[in-house]
Amino acid sequence: MLEIHNLRVSINGNRILKGINLFINAGEVHAIMGPNGSGKSTLAHILAGRDGYVVEEGEVLFNGKDLFALSPEERAWEGLFLAFQYPIEIPGVSNATFLKTALNEIRKHRGLPELDAMDFLTTVRKRMKLVDMDPSLLGRPVNEGFSGGEKKRNEILQMAVLEPRLAILDETDSGLDIDSLKTVANGVNSLRNKDNAILVITHYQRLLDYIVPDYVHVLFDGRIVESGDKTLALDLERKGYDWIKEKTAES
């Protein structure tokens, strides 16, 4: 589904990603872990299409298509979704209007009929239960005045409504208490199936207790320096990132 080949990316002349290779198939859950500043969020943003980055080398194929030839909205139409670490507040646009517009744009590009207001509300209310979200948040402006937990739930709600093929969760656990973390993780898990894939980006192992990955990769200084199964995350939790740093320095 996603193939990243030797991806090298810089921002303002600073090389951030220094040759990433990553392959994700349908039905898989991958986790990328790494210390602060290792390039995790840069990878998430460049996949979603944020500008300001320069791709110096390499390519990314999504469903066989050149990802960098697509605009951010075209990537969403293809089924890519990024749950933001810091969801954006949009005063003046209600959550309902926002979600319905997004859903219908995506449905249009999938050849599905657009939903009217009533059908949309039925769908979205069902999904809100999944992430235990207060229904009143639907009528409020997007993320405005939401608590940290409400913002993260709102991201997963969008994922539930838009049904992406590949969801990238960028530090979705940050700022969540343990109950919210479980709720959010349960929401994500209930959306897992054999046709979609999830890429979890996280600093801590904590989230991976609830969203159990098939593969864990360690990103350090712009490179994936270690890959393994879920036990790698536990090793990192126990030994910290210094172990990786030393190992990288030796090689």
């Binding site: 909205e73 005063p91 646009v93 309902a96 009217d116 639907l138 009528g139």
Partner: protein, 455 residues
């Protein structure tokens, strides 16, 4: 300043011909205004109040009096689209400065509510006109105010006795029909709300063709003790029109006045709101939205004068400028020495959507009292790039995302309009102005309902 007398005279001399004598009280006022007008030059960029509003191309033209024949050509189906057809209201239709009784519909009122066109009111209630004409509009030394005073043709007189509420809104619908000449359409309105009375007044300005007309309106309002007036003005004329309007309000104790000014139309529009907080505990809320494109010039001016203690005022004006449009905001708050415990706020925010669009903003605060809460601010910016990316990353196309965010910027001003039918009418205009549709108006209404009910 060198006076170019001939240019001014040429501008209005043709209006003198049909200068029919009305009743003596009006006549005296008009003559006085005419004298003052003769002493007044065209405003130029050198005048502080007109620094960014160039009327140069207008000043070389010559106004023609509107003729009744233009108004008589108008058929009902031409007027129909501009009425709020789902809203029960008193409707007074004016075409090119003439009142159209057959398009108007003033529902039967008790003696405690008077709603009449000015000519009618002059014979039925001359005392009201005599008491208030020219008494609230104290701008002075303003060319277009004197022009109106000298040559006003029609208008409305609204008078509510104490403790009555006008149950349905009053809609003043002004239509213009231009031709090869620059027609002059002018109105003088007097709105008097008795103690404890309340009303909602909606004024809408539309063009029936694409030709240029100059509209010149002066409205004088008194809100007596505990009275409440909701006042919405929508300027939706064609982009060849000129508009010079001023609304002047005198607020007595514990009275409330809210004004929402929406400007989408006109080649050049200038709107003044002057509020005098005369009574203790009075409250004034002013909202404005000017959304210009092409070569439109939109000028908004407010003056809120606090002369009494414990009064509150709030101003929120927003501009959205695209293409080569220009928006001006010039807002003043004066707090006099005896107006202690005043709360007065003013905010002007502007969104620039193109390279060549321009905004001049001048918030102004003068305080002579020492125990007050006041603030003012202004901003000029572009669409939030992070918000755009967020919307796009959810599959919302770039153009739709831009349109959504533009709409969102305007939303709090639009929400200040308390009449659903008027908001609904406006949404459709704004969809056209802000780019392609991104949701049907029906959705908008139902989502608004969700928001209001907090469902």
């Amino acid at each position: 300043m060198i006076k170019n007398k001939s240019a001014e005279t040429r501008f209005y001399e043709k209006l003198l011909k049909p200068f029919v004598k009305k009743q003596s009280l009006v006549n005296a006022f008009q003559e006085e205004s005419y004298k003052a007008l003769q002493q007044t030059s065209f405003p130029t960029l050198k005048d502080e109040e007109w620094k960014y509003t160039d009327i140069g191309d207008l000043a070389i033209q010559s106004l023609e009096p509107a003729v009744k024949a233009d108004a008589e050509k108008i058929r009902p189906e031409m007027v129909f689209p501009y009425r709020f057809n789902h809203m029960k209201s008193h409707v007074l239709v004016f075409i090119n400065g003439y009142f159209s009784p057959h398009f108007s519909h003033i529902k039967k009122n008790s003696n405690s509510i008077l709603i009449e066109n000015l000519s009618e009111a002059l014979s039925s209630h001359p005392e009201i006109v005599q008491t208030y004409l020219g008494k609230i509009d104290k701008k002075g030394n303003d060319f277009f105010s004197y022009l109106n005073g000298a040559f006003f043709q029609e208008g409305v007189v609204i008078d509510l006795r104490d403790n009555v509420s006008c149950e349905i809104p009053i809609h003043l619908l002004y239509l213009t029909v231009g031709n090869d000449h620059l027609r002059y359409a002018s109105y003088r309105n007097i709105v008097i709300l008795g103690k404890g009375s309340s009303a909602t007044l909606v004024e809408t300005h539309h063009s029936l063709n694409n030709q240029s007309v100059l509209t010149n309106t002066v409205t004088e309002i008194v809100t007596s003790e505990n009275a409440t007036l909701q006042h919405h003005i929508l300027q939706l004329q064609n982009e060849n029109s000129y508009y010079f309007g001023s609304t002047n309000v005198s607020l007595f104790p514990e009275s409330h006045y809210q004004n929402t000014w929406i400007s989408l139309g006109g080649k050049l529009s200038r709107n003044d709101v002057n509020a005098e907080m005369q009574g203790e505990g009075s409250d004034c809320q002013l909202y404005g939205l000017y959304a210009g494109h092409h070569h439109q010039l939109m000028d908004s001016r407010t003056v809120v004068t606090h002369n009494a203690i414990h009064a509150t005022s709030n101003q929120l004006y927003k501009g959205i400028l695209n293409d080569c449009a220009q928006g001006n905001f010039n807002g003043k708050i004066y707090v006099s020495r005896n107006a202690q415990k005043t709360e007065a706020y003013q905010l002007n925010r502007n969104l620039i959507l193109s390279e060549k669009a321009r905004v001049n903003t001048k918030p102004h605060l003068k305080i002579f009292a020492d125990d007050v809460k006041c603030s003012h601010g202004a901003s000029v910016g572009q669409l939030d790039k992070n918000a755009l990316f967020y919307l796009q990353s959810r599959g919302v196309g770039k153009e739709v995302a831009r349109s959504m965010l533009t709409f969102a910027f305007a939303n709090d001003v639009i929400d200040s309009i308390i009449l659903g039918s008027v908001r609904f009418f406006l949404y459709k205009r704004l969809y056209n102005r802000f780019g392609r549709e991104w949701g049907s108006v029906d959705d908008f209404e139902s989502f608004q309902t969700i928001r209001k009910n907090g469902e």
